[in-house]
């Protein structure tokens, strides 16, 4: 019997510091996966950490890691050429076929943009299946903006709106100061034939949801990604359970009407 705790060693091809505390690894690994799924990255001797795919590419995978604890700190010390231990993919990703021929609206906050980048790359690979794409991304400051090298490409190809909470940092990028929720509120976003992808800190998601509903979006047009610290990823350890749903198995991607009203 295969052991789901077992890891695959993969080679790190590249490492990019996106912001002072966020780093992206590109690894030589080609698992079949959907945008929105996640894996466990393991550092023997330190532990495991669930990280979502932030790319969609047939030749490599990328993972965006924010340094917040012991494991992510240890991961951030890996360098190109080193071996990374991974297991997965786990969970249900976004059912991209189901979204065909729709306009797409992405709303992301902070490192919640990372999983959305996976969908964006999927859309770029299947561009003719999708209509207009709007991106609303909010960050704390200029330096915290993720995927800076992609902003130019995204601006050309999509409708990109970046906001920063406070006007600080060295990176030069002209964008309004304020929360991403304000930008969404002020924007004229017609809800017809549109799918919303929402990912970010809990407080941002809570604030954005009523705005979208006010604009006339139906609950089944909105997709959210939930965050939990999964230990097993297979519906056993119990850490990710909310109201009887396992984020690792039933999610991490949920259609809003599936988890609406779910409380702890």
């Amino acid at each position: 019997m295969s052991n789901y705790f077992e890891h695959t060693p993969v080679e790190i091809l590249a490492k990019t510091w996106e912001s002072p505390d966020t780093v992206t690894f590109r690894v030589n690994w080609q698992p079949k996966h959907d945008p929105g799924q996640f894996i466990e990255i393991s550092i023997p001797g330190v532990g495991e950490s669930p990280i979502s795919f932030c790319s969609w590419n047939p030749t490599y995978c990328e993972f965006n890691v924010r340094v917040v604890g012991n494991v992510t700190k240890a991961i951030s010390k890996l360098e190109p050429g080193d071996t990374m231990h991974v297991r997965g993919p786990y969970g249900k990703g976004y059912p991209m076929d189901y979204f065909k021929n729709n306009h797409l609206l992405f709303i992301g906050g902070g490192c919640g943009v990372a999983p959305l980048k996976g969908i964006i790359e999927y859309v770029q690979h299947h561009r003719k299946h999708f209509k207009d794409v709007d991106l609303y991304f909010g960050y704390r400051s200029r330096d915290d903006i993720l995927f800076k090298h992609l902003l130019e490409h995204w601006e050309k190809e999509f409708f990109l709106h970046v906001t920063i909470d406070k006007d600080a940092g060295d990176f030069h990028y002209s964008c309004p100061v304020g929360f991403v929720t304000q930008a969404v509120q002020e924007a004229d976003i017609p809800p017809d034939n549109k799918i919303v992808f929402l990912c970010g800190p809990p407080v941002m998601m809570e604030k954005t949801m009523p705005l979208l509903l006010d604009k006339g979006f139906h609950e089944d047009q909105i997709w959210v990604s939930a965050e939990r610290h999964m230990k097993c990823c297979t519906g056993k350890c119990g850490h990710c359970m909310i109201n009887g749903k396992y984020v690792c198995k039933d999610g991490p991607v949920f259609r809003y009407d599936e988890i609406k009203g779910v409380t702890e």
Binding site: G45, P202, R228, H229, K231, K236, C237, H239, M241, E264
Partner: protein, 319 residues
């Protein structure tokens, strides 16, 4: 299919199991607890009447279990071949609990190899309760199934052995057949839990009364025969190169159970954690598997420091 075992020959039967592998049985000391019965003389101490303090889940989900050995910073598989083990005189509530753990840990999508290795090596032999053990048992209302390989049922001078699997039959094939099949009567209890849809009471104030008493000591989760949550952590030697990756039991009552990176805790209040456990036992599992995860063994009420009785609260207050 039934077999007969003379009460005076019960120890001979257990002796035959002892020869096949390790034998574990409840023994009454300061409390009734499952112990390794190593010698033929120790067979005499096996308890037939009490309710074990700790459930037998520890033979499948030990408190601490090694998943991998870490050598020079690399993970290495640990040996998983196990000799047969027999756990005898297990009560029906605990046997049903094993069936519930099987559903979760032998889930065809992601079967757990560590659990399966132990499960394959272990045979649980039950004993039927003649009457409820004490006033805390409420298994009579929890829809218990005949989920066992063998069950001993007291019939005066004999034990009638109810055989439910080939694995069980292999152990008792030499015993005489019972003249006719008489299914053991499942235990009845005076305490009953009213089956209610708890979703509608989720936001009720009634949780608060019990919760005020709860001190999050985690005794209920440690003693519950179906509580299965675990944590995975690496335990390293001082050289930080060698060590082991461990799976340890965890409790949803612990304050950091739902803590994620950045120190955000989703169930930060004790009320949320207390409610989550009761809801998981009685409702969430039922939503998926059409039966409650609780088997009515009564341990969480019997041994609660604060005498929290959720059965009473649900029966009387939830309306």
């Amino acid at each position: 299919m039934g077999k007969l075992l003379k009460k005076s020959a019960a120890n001979d039967f257990f002796r035959s199991l002892q020869k096949k592998g390790s034998l574990y049985a409840p023994v009454s000391t300061d409390m009734v607890r499952f112990q390794h019965i190593k010698t033929p003389e120790a067979l005499r101490s096996i308890d037939f009447d009490g309710h074990a303090f700790f459930p037998p889940k520890k033979y499948l989900l030990p408190n601490e279990e090694e998943l991998f050995t870490i050598k020079q910073g690399k993970l290495q598989d640990t040996n998983q071949s196990l000799p047969p083990q027999f756990v005898v005189n297990v009560r029906l509530c605990d046997l049903n609990a094993i069936a519930i753990l099987d559903k979760l840990y032998l889930d065809p999508d992601y079967p757990d190899p560590y659990y399966k290795a132990k499960r394959d090596a272990t045979t649980f032999i039950g004993i039927n309760c003649k009457r409820e053990i004490d006033e805390y048992c409420f298994c009579g209302s929890m829809d218990l199934q005949r989920a066992y390989d063998l069950l001993l049922d007291d019939r005066g001078e004999h034990y009638y052995i109810d055989v439910r699997s080939d694995k069980g039959m292999a152990l008792v094939k030499e015993l005489p057949d019972a003249p006719e099949q008489q299914d053991p009567t499942l235990p009845k209890t005076s305490k009953v839990l009213d089956q209610k849809d708890l979703h509608q009471f989720f936001a009720d104030k009634w949780w608060e009364g019990d919760n005020e008493l709860c001190v999050s000591c985690q005794r209920c989760t440690a003693l519950c025969p179906t509580c299965f949550c675990f944590d995975v952590k690496d335990d390293m030697d001082l050289n930080l190169q060698d060590g082991k990756r461990l799976r340890t039991i965890d409790s949803c009552h612990s304050a950091d159970f739902t803590t994620v990176a950045g120190d955000h805790t989703f169930r930060s209040s004790r009320l949320q954690r207390y409610r989550h456990r009761v809801m998981h036992k009685l409702q969430y599992y039922k939503d998926t598997f059409e039966r409650s995860m609780c088997t009515g063994c009564g341990r969480c009420i019997r041994y609660c420091h604060s005498k929290i009785d959720f059965v009473k609260t649900i029966n009387e207050d939830f309306k």
